[in-house]
């Protein structure tokens, strides 16, 4: 039962993230939306892992790897945004 609830939650997160990505007006919003989506994907993997006890370790390891990749991407995206902002500020000066 709880597995079903959480897979719905995961779908909800993906859809909300997608919606946010489409309506984002700021780079930061886009990054947040993408991360909301990725949280949904991770959760979906974990619900699939938890269908039968004991929980499947392979999707869990995938999620662990995914979290680190996601933060790398987030940090890179933020660095790009900072650079963009700095260059725009420079061109306005």
């Amino acid at each position: 039962m709880s597995g079903l609830i959480y897979s719905l939650c995961a779908l909800g997160l993906v859809m909300i993230g997608l919606y946010g990505l489409a309506r984002a007006h700021h780079g930061l919003q886009q990054l947040l939306a993408i991360n909301v989506m990725s949280a949904g994907v991770f959760m979906l993997l974990l619900t699939m892992a938890a269908r039968h006890p004991p929980a499947d370790a392979v999707p869990q390891a995938l999620v662990l790897t995914g979290i680190v990749v996601a933060i790398s991407a987030l940090a890179l995206g933020l660095a790009l945004l900072r650079r963009l902002a700095a260059e725009e500020a420079e061109s306005h000066d």
Binding site: I71, L74, A79
Partner: protein
């Protein structure tokens, strides 16, 4: 019951996070979302992922976001939210809905199948050198994925180094000794926790990622307290930091190559030595992850100047 409430809270926060036009608020909500998601994952019997999400996905990501926020332009007034939707609006909504339906049906289809790799994992667990299945998958069965992931982390950091712009803002100077004293007292404890998490990873939830996250926050605290820490000015420290950045991937690949010569194949270890090699790799990986994550947060600080790393 708890699950339902948690789900509703998560969805509400996610909705708010993408709806709000206040960027600061969006970030704060995002951090809270990360915490709740971590909680949900403990409910899904995934303590490893929950630990990592709380520390990295909420904690360090939050620090990154908040530090970057101050260096960004405001939401531009010209592209104000709520601008008139074009005639295509309905089309996109339709597409969005169709995708949602497709996902629902896909997930429903998955629910009825029952493919699990766990029996295979458990069958080989005794040969893996560790007793915790997640660690066995990460560092033995799918070691290549983890090595590549470290490479991604390193690559992302190198790209950020190239994109670096020196911080322009001044930050209020630190007053008093409270933070310094506290950090001095807490630092040994944090290192201890990091080592403990690393050691524990072989038999229970924990491991290089979680340990690396703790190390990263230790280093960040050192920097925040303006203590003489790992800065480039100090002699061989610079070389040490660079070695730390590269260490995770390098050690991983070297041990992986060793497997070729020992006849266990690339990224394979002989069962009797597996435990030792995994511990070695994990130590290097934790150090690398910690250094890389902390470096990423550091360069995003509004007052960070080049030459410190």
């Amino acid at each position: 019951m708890l699950d339902a409430i948690l789900t509703l809270l998560i969805l509400a926060l996610a909705w708010h996070c993408v709806r709000t036009t206040d960027l600061f608020e969006a970030i704060v909500v995002f951090i809270a979302l990360g915490m709740l998601v971590a909680l949900a994952w403990t409910r899904l019997q995934a303590p490893d992922a929950a630990l990592a999400e709380a520390a990295i996905g909420a904690g360090l990501a939050g620090a990154l976001l908040l530090a970057s926020l101050r260096q960004m332009p405001e939401m531009s007034a010209t592209r104000a939210p709520g601008a008139k939707t074009t005639g295509l609006g309905w089309f996109w909504w339709g597409l969005w809905g169709a995708l949602g339906l497709a996902l629902v049906s896909g997930v429903a289809a998955i629910q009825t199948t029952s493919v699990s790799l766990m029996p295979q994992v458990q069958a080989h667990l005794s040969d893996s050198g560790v007793t915790h299945p997640v660690t066995a998958v990460l560092l033995n069965f799918r070691a290549l994925d983890t090595a590549l992931e470290l490479a991604v982390l390193l690559w992302a950091w190198m790209a950020q180094k190239q994109l670096f712009v020196p911080g322009r803002q001044t930050v209020y100077p630190l007053q008093g000794q409270v933070l310094k004293t506290a950090v001095k007292a807490l630092l040994p404890l944090m290192v201890l926790v990091a080592v403990y998490l690393l050691w524990r990873g072989s038999s229970a939830p924990g491991g290089a990622f979680q340990s690396g996250a703790v190390l990263a926050s230790a280093w960040l605290m050192l920097w925040l307290a303006q203590l003489p820490g790992l800065s480039r000015k100090q002699g061989g420290m610079r070389l040490g930091i660079q070695a730390g950045w590269l260490g995770g991937v390098t050690v991983f690949l070297l041990v992986g190559l060793l497997g070729v010569f020992q006849g266990a194949g690339f990224m394979g270890y002989p069962p009797d030595q597996a435990g030792a090699w995994i511990l070695l790799i994990e130590s290097a990986a934790a150090l690398s992850i910690g250094l890389l994550l902390a470096s990423m947060v550091l360069v995003s600080m509004p007052d960070f100047q080049e030459g410190t790393l």
